[in-house]
């Protein structure tokens, strides 16, 4: 298939459809509404389910219901809408059913604004609801990558019977870039063996998140943690630019990584040995690879479109013996490459100065 000029939100919706999404439940919210709009047009055309719920709370519970029936299902929203979905998310996690969520993040807290932001890092990576679990969280930085990760999201959700979040900021949702969509997949003809499909002659299936006894719930948590450990081992994704000889490494994802990419290229022209480490899976977070870099690289900079959320994971990865600084713009402002360049130049001067003194 040839490359087309695609808007992020539309590309994601179409990729989900081609990946075999059978049902979509959602509620409009800027800056992701084009995703829902595309679904509203395409899903009925294909004889699949599109339903605009009365709220995000209703939407997430519809997702829970469809997922329990073994249907490939998704929803999408933006930050305040994801906040509303927390209870349902936790129930889905506690029931171990696969479900895909797209969060096109906007500025917070509160209703905040509709501008691009990475305000939900903590909300989605740490648990996305009460209880001990993590969704898989994937963060694209281009529209092509958003398409590819959307397809992967459904596969990972099915494989691990888990929640997969794809998170992007409003900029990637709203921008257009040439990208190639995947071919249309056949829909499954059978439901998974655990799904609630009507008992018939088989043994009964139970999908629930309630385990009233302390020991049964503790046992379930053990099983869940074992599964998360497998995901942590198998599903790490990241990208690196000029880290081989870098003496200062920027850590950034999504649009912040694109901004950092521009800054790194310009700084390299000034012979400043800077590199870029871009986590693609935010959970599991690539602690180990960053830790390896920290054995050699003395200085790191976390660049985020918030007041500093991922930086805590970066600190855990690189340890206390290296310098770690932060540059970020909260409130829905996309940082400029020039601002990142100024920050890196200042850090690099310090680093050179320190080297001279030593």
């Amino acid at each position: 298939m040839a490359k087309e000029l695609l808007k992020g939100n539309v590309a994601i919706a179409e990729a989900a459809i081609r990946a075999g999404c059978e049902a979509y439940f959602g509620y409009p919210i800027t800056p992701q509404t084009e995703l829902l709009e595309h679904m509203s047009k395409r899903m009925p055309e294909l004889g699949r389910t599109f339903l605009q719920a009365e709220s995000e709370v209703a939407a997430v519970n519809m997702v829970y219901g469809a997922a329990s029936a073994g249907v490939r299902v998704m929803t999408s929203s933006s930050s305040p809408g994801i906040s509303l979905m927390q209870e349902g998310l936790s129930y889905i996690a506690g029931s171990e059913v696969p479900a895909v969520f797209v969060d096109v993040m906007r500025g917070g807290p509160g209703l905040g604004n509709i501008q691009p932001s990475q305000s939900d890092y903590n909300q989605v990576t740490k648990t996305a609801g009460h209880g001990d679990y993590h969704p898989i969280v994937l963060a694209p930085s281009t529209i092509q990558e958003a398409i590819d990760l959307m397809v992967l999201s459904f596969d990972l959700a099915d494989k691990y019977r888990t929640i997969v979040f794809m998170v992007l900021d409003g900029a990637i949702g709203q921008m257009m870039e040439p990208a190639e969509l995947p071919p249309m997949r056949e829909l499954p003809t059978e439901r998974p063996s655990w799904a609630l499909t009507g008992k018939g002659n088989r043994d009964k299936n139970i999908v629930t998140s309630i385990r009233l006894g302390a020991q049964p719930l503790a046992d379930f948590n053990d099983i869940l943690q074992e599964k998360l450990a497998v995901i942590e081992k198998n599903e790490l994704r990241y990208d690196e630019l000029y880290t081989d000889d870098a003496e200062l490494v920027i850590v950034a994802y999504g649009t912040a990584a694109r901004v950092a990419h521009t800054a790194v290229k310009r700084l390299r022209e000034e012979n400043i040995p800077v590199g870029l480490f871009r986590p693609i899976s935010l959970w599991p977070f690539p602690y180990q690879r960053l830790g390896e870099l920290a054995d050699r690289v003395p200085t790191f900079l976390s660049v985020e479109m918030n007041a500093g959320q991922m930086i805590h994971d970066v600190r855990e990865a690189v340890g206390r013996d290296v310098e770690l600084d932060f540059f970020g713009r909260p409130g829905g402002i996309i940082p400029l490459p020039e601002e990142v360049e100024d920050k890196v130049r200042a850090m690099w001067r310090q680093q050179e100065l320190a080297a001279q003194i030593n």
Partner: protein, 184 residues
């Protein structure tokens, strides 16, 4: 080589479409391209703008502090972007709606009566095309013929009756651009 272009005006002046047309043309020429709109609440009745980047290499940041080229279709856009155009850059001014004059001498400025040209050929809605024609004259990102081909290839068939008029407006804008002297 990377060129950043901001196109700005009132909602309804075809700002976003003009940007998309440049983006499609860049893509059709095999270049890397990005298009990003402003999508704030100011879009309703206020100003709209989009940023287009056309590059030989992979594009990082999709937004810029200072563009290489700015197209101002109304006065608020002129006031906002005229000071920001990079030295050596290009500013296209819609003279039909902007009576103010830039005092900058470090950029190429084309004043084009975009609304009047567009009206002459049928509809004021094509003012954006007059401005794009002027832009290509001063910054030949691709030829006018390439842009016309792109317009033909990506405009929905049901709108193909508008192709000829758009072509004439683009050509007229291009001529105005070619006739405008660049400051030394």
């Amino acid at each position: 080589m990377e060129t950043s272009i901001i196109i700005a005006g009132f909602g309804g002046q075809g700002v976003l479409f003009a940007g998309q047309l440049l983006t499609y043309a860049g893509m059709d020429q095999g270049r890397h391209v990005t298009w990003i709109p402003s999508y704030g609440p100011e879009m309703r009745g206020g100003t709209a703008n989009c940023t287009v980047i056309i590059s030989d290499d992979e594009i990082g940041a999709p937004t810029v502090a200072r563009p290489d080229v700015a197209v101002a279709l109304n006065l608020p856009s002129f006031e906002k972007y005229e000071p920001l155009v990079k030295p050596g850059g290009v500013l296209i001014v819609n003279k039909s709606l902007i009576s103010e004059q830039s005092e900058r001498t470090d950029i190429a400025i084309v004043e084009v009566r975009a609304n009047r040209i567009a009206k002459e050929f049928g509809s004021v809605k094509m003012a954006n095309m007059a401005a794009l024609g002027a832009l290509l004259a001063k910054r030949p990102l691709f030829s006018l013929d390439d842009l016309l081909q792109t317009l033909h290839d990506h405009l929905p068939k049901r709108k193909h009756n508008l192709l000829e008029a758009n072509k004439l407006v683009l050509q007229h804008g291009y001529e105005v651009g070619m006739e405008t002297a660049v400051p030394a």
